[in-house]
């Protein structure tokens, strides 16, 4: 369900917020931040903490009132900007999805609490049944869901979404943010609806059922086929299975969706199947108001009267609102974590947990300058560099305890069904001596605080490796993004450790956009010889977190040009084989083989006050799961 987006802070004013935090610390009284890592956080809570968790989840209160207004934050840069489920790439973000899902439910809902897995209770359909050697799948709709005009949510509504999606991506590949050529819906050869509650999809080949369900089907958001199958306001209803009609319908829906100022008044968007209906939308700020949808068929219906998304120009402004107690729910930027005790004192609950994804420091395997490609292709060099990363110190010093250790593309936290065995114990723990020994045992003269050089060139087991000449040093440059600041802090920490084994790292700050547009081997091959290492953040992942496209040889997002046939083979198996453990094998190998240095995963922290609900409804905020219908205002 979670769209694939870059794993980057939503806060554009992190530096400002940091300065703000300093001031607010001075103005408020001091106190320990509490929470994070394995510490026991303070604050009222009833559940025990686990590693990587920040804060606690209070038990649901019975001291509630019916009605009232629940307010939550949306920030500059993370506003919803497109209402129709077939969302263009320019508008695709987890924040836009949060907004849309309040109105238009996805076929399969994720997460379940802080676990990035399908939540069947909130899904519009039962889990698919695969047959015909995993080339056919059958989806049975849950019968209780209805559109706000009373019509049931049917298999035809799913079919309609697919028809319109096909038209959209045929017109322009950028018309759907989660589209990859050859993948969904291209891999659907045919479909039929034997009855209104059943959809059968025939695929172009056999796929791993886990991959298909968790990466392909999760993008589906049924659309009201009987209301939206028009090409003009008040126009005739068209058959969307006809490609020409589907194009006309898409063009119309898309043009209406671009009229941001009409979101609350356009009759099209009044037909919803989610728990809320939109009643106002400010086109300047995208602040909006919703009210409960009485026909919502989910397990829990909203009990308050109004849901308000309050816009903030920056994380500083948002945090000021939290300090002033003006909103019920808001994000806590990492720079403001030291201020969490102040929030708690004013009655806020605070909880954070890492969302699914990974952060990494990327090696460029294609840079031939100074023999870098030959150096970094040596696994022992990558292992030595991995030993230089002190994750525990980074979590404590950089993330204020609000992060979890992560050693590969599928971390142990948050837990999924695909965590490999080596995700729980660091295969390359911080150890200057281990790093030193690895280099020494391969023919390097290690000079702490000096310059380590290759003394024994050659391809033997105790030699530097192919293409590495005698006297070669191990110095390199790391380009890191200047926002968020944690990338720079991580890089500086690595620089300090590397110095101890005579590896001289030059950190260079660049903007995020500069790095991804210039230092990316697949899309900017002209610069392959201009960078050695970069730290721009990482990726959010689907709930089936294969590294397809990221670490396979022809991957579109293989930033550093990592090339490993075995990795390709394992990634392929994750996608196409019937082996349910294929992804574990892939993740395990990638973790060991180090196409990059994997870094800790930051907690996504939220604060709330004046509302209560099941703990899972707050835990899911860490995974971009927004289910305010479970909340009630407290007395």
């Amino acid at each position: 369900m979670t769209p694939l987006v870059f794993r980057r802070s939503r806060f554009s004013f992190v530096a400002l917020a940091a300065a703000g935090a300093i001031l607010l610390a001075a103005c408020g009284s001091s106190g320990s931040s509490g929470g994070g890592g394995k510490q026991a956080p303070n604050g009222a809570g009833s559940t025990s903490t686990t590693e990587g968790q920040y804060g606690t989840l209070p038990a649901e209160s019975s001291n509630v009132i019916t009605g009232g207004t629940v307010t939550y934050d949306i920030e500059n840069g993370s506003q919803p900007q497109y209402i129709m489920p077939v969302t263009p790439g320019a508008d695709t973000s987890v924040y836009n999805a949060e907004f849309q899902y309040l109105l238009y439910r996805p076929l399969y809902w994720t997460p379940q609490g802080n676990r990035p897995i399908i939540n069947q209770a909130l899904s519009l359909a039962k889990l698919p049944v695969y047959s015909n050697g995993n080339k056919t799948l059958t989806i049975h709709m849950n019968s209780q869901y209805k559109w706000s005009d009373g019509k049931p949510v049917t298999a035809q509504d799913v079919e309609f979404f697919i028809d319109i999606l096909r038209a959209a991506v045929k017109e322009n590949n950028a018309n759907f943010g989660n589209y990859t050529p050859g993948a969904f819906p291209d891999n659907v050869v045919s479909m039929k609806t034997p009855d209104p509650a059943t959809l059968v999809l025939n695929l172009d080949r056999a796929y791993n059922p886990n991959w298909y369900t968790d990466t392909q089907l999760v993008v589906i958001q049924p659309m009201p086929s009987q209301d939206w199958n028009i090409a003009s306001t008040g126009g005739p209803h068209l058959d969307p299975s006809n490609a020409a009609n589907a194009k006309k319908i898409y063009d119309f829906l898309n043009s209406e969706a671009k009229k941001v100022g009409t979101y609350a008044s356009n009759p099209l968007w009044k037909v919803v199947d989610g728990p809320f209906k939109l009643t106002s939308f400010n086109p300047t700020t995208d602040a909006n108001t919703m009210v409960p949808n009485p026909t919502y068929g989910g397990p829990v219906k909203p009990k308050f009267a109004e849901l308000k998304a309050v816009y903030f120009t920056s994380s500083t402004a948002e945090f000021n609102a939290l300090r002033a107690g003006k909103i019920n729910v808001g994000g806590v930027p990492s720079a403001d974590i030291p201020q969490v005790p102040l929030l708690r004192r004013t009655g806020y609950n605070v909880y954070g947990y890492p969302d699914l994804g990974f952060s990494y420091i990327v090696f460029n395997f294609k840079d031939k300058t100074n023999h870098w490609n030959n150096i970094i292709s040596q696994l022992y060099v990558r292992q030595a560099l991995a030993h230089l990363e002190d994750q525990q110190a980074i979590i404590k010093g950089v993330y204020h305890g609000a992060a979890a250790e992560a050693y590969g593309p599928v971390p142990a936290i948050p837990a999924t069904n695909y965590v490999p065995a080596n995700a729980s114990t660091d295969p390359y723990p911080y150890s200057i001596s281990d790093a030193t020994n690895l280099l020494k045992s391969h023919g390097w003269n290690v000079v702490p605080n000096g310059t380590t050089t290759c003394q024994n060139p050659g391809t033997g087991p105790n030699q530097c490796g192919a293409g590495i000449p005698k006297g070669q040093n191990l110095n390199f440059t790391v380009y890191y993004t200047n926002d968020p600041p944690v990338a720079g802090q991580e890089t500086i920490a690595l620089q300090g450790a590397a110095k101890q084994i005579g590896v001289n790292i030059t950190p260079v700050a660049k903007t995020f956009n500069f790095i991804i547009q210039n230092y990316d081997d697949p899309s900017a091959p002209q610069n392959n010889n201009k960078w050695q290492v970069e730290n721009f953040g990482g990726f959010n992942e689907d709930i089936y977190p294969t590294t397809d496209e990221i670490f396979n040889i022809k991957g579109s997002f293989n930033e550093g040009g990592y090339t490993d046939p075995k990795a390709d083979q394992l990634i392929n198996a994750s996608k196409f084989s019937s082996n349910p453990d294929a992804l574990k094998a892939e993740a395990s190998y990638i973790t060991e083989n180090l196409p990059a240095i994997f870094t800790p995963n930051e907690d996504r922290i939220s604060a709330w006050k004046g509302i209560t609900g099941p703990p899972d409804s707050f835990a899911s905020l860490s995974q971009f799961g927004f289910t305010p219908e479970y909340w009630q205002l407290t007395k």
Binding site: A19, N172, P181, T313, T316, Q517
Partner: protein
């Protein structure tokens, strides 16, 4: 005067075209296409290609520039790449609010700074002068971001006298009606502006106080009030006029920090966000408007100088 204005206008057109060319070239040379910034890191090569084709970023640079000029001449600034609105509409939504915030702050700052600077000059080296100078230097040294946070921390969070954010009304009229919520953001701008303006004013007034015409005015028996208001203030205001003229672009652009901290959506923030998103149509339109305002500000300042001091002739 009219000839002068026409000549300056012609020069301004050339300057503005030069700015357009420079900004366009700088943007496109650093980032030939904003596709990856707009579509995200996981945009497929096919999506990037489609985006570039749709928006014309796959065409030669000269072709793109001519298209841009043609659109601008027709007052068509295009569509935002990220915000699903036309640039014109976005400017319309935000410009009034930014101008109101800056304009009110500028007027108040001048109204405070001019008499303050003169008073300091008249009572130079007094305790009042030393105190005002000390406070000015103290405030001038504060980054505006810090000023904003101190104001919020003290007057909103601690004393709970004023709102922590600026007015959330979308119309200028609505903002005016919500004046109480504008006190802190306007104050933040006034504090840093007064510090600067009053120093210029004091310095200029000191120079003028030593001039013969002031001595003559006093010698012929004019009251001190008359000397100060009719002679000194007018002549000492010339540097302020220049400064105010140069501050005109700030009416739209100068308040990014205040807008971000006080939760006030305006043009400064619109530009900053567009910068992060590489939203070219907004960036190009904004810099164009900025260039025009700089030119207008200079022209207005020059004309105002001639009105304040008839000895200055526009040629």
């Amino acid at each position: 005067m009219i000839t002068y204005i026409l000549r300056r206008t012609a020069t301004a057109v050339i300057v503005v075209i030069g700015v357009m060319l420079a900004i366009f070239a700088a943007l496109h040379l650093v980032y030939p296409s904003p596709a990856r910034a707009v579509l995200g890191l996981k945009a497929t090569p096919q999506a990037v290609a489609a985006f570039n084709h749709t928006h014309g970023y796959d065409r030669p640079l000269w072709h793109q520039f001519l298209t841009y000029i043609n659109q601008t001449v027709h007052l068509n600034f295009g569509e935002s790449l990220k915000q699903n609105q036309s640039v014109g509409q976005l400017f319309k939504e935000n410009a009034g609010r930014s101008a109101l915030l800056s304009g009110v702050a500028l007027v108040i700052a001048v109204l405070i700074a001019v008499p303050l600077g003169i008073a300091q000059a008249v009572k130079r080296n007094s305790i009042f002068d030393y105190t005002a100078t000390g406070v000015s230097f103290f405030l001038y040294s504060w980054p505006i971001f810090f000023v904003c946070l101190v104001l919020i921390a003290v007057f909103s969070l601690k004393l709970n006298w004023l709102p922590f954010e600026a007015s959330q009304a979308t119309s200028v009229f609505g903002v005016v009606r919500d004046a109480k919520s504008m006190i802190l953001p306007v104050s933040a701008l006034v504090i840093v502006s007064v510090a600067a303006f009053s120093r210029y004013m004091r310095s200029s007034a000191l120079d003028n106080l030593a001039q013969d015409y002031i001595k003559v005015a006093r010698a012929k028996g004019l009251s001190e009030r008359s000397v100060l208001f009719r002679h000194l203030t007018r002549n000492s205001s010339l540097p302020i006029i220049t400064l105010v003229g140069l501050s005109l672009p700030d009416l739209l652009a100068g308040n990014l920090i205040v807008e971000s901290v006080f939760n006030y959506q305006g043009l400064g923030l619109l530009f900053f966000t567009a910068l992060g998103n590489e939203d070219y149509p907004i960036l190009l339109a904004y810099t164009l408007v900025g260039a025009i305002l700089v030119v207008i500000g200079n022209l207005v300042a020059d004309i105002a100088l001639t009105l304040a001091d008839p000895r200055i002739r526009l040629i």
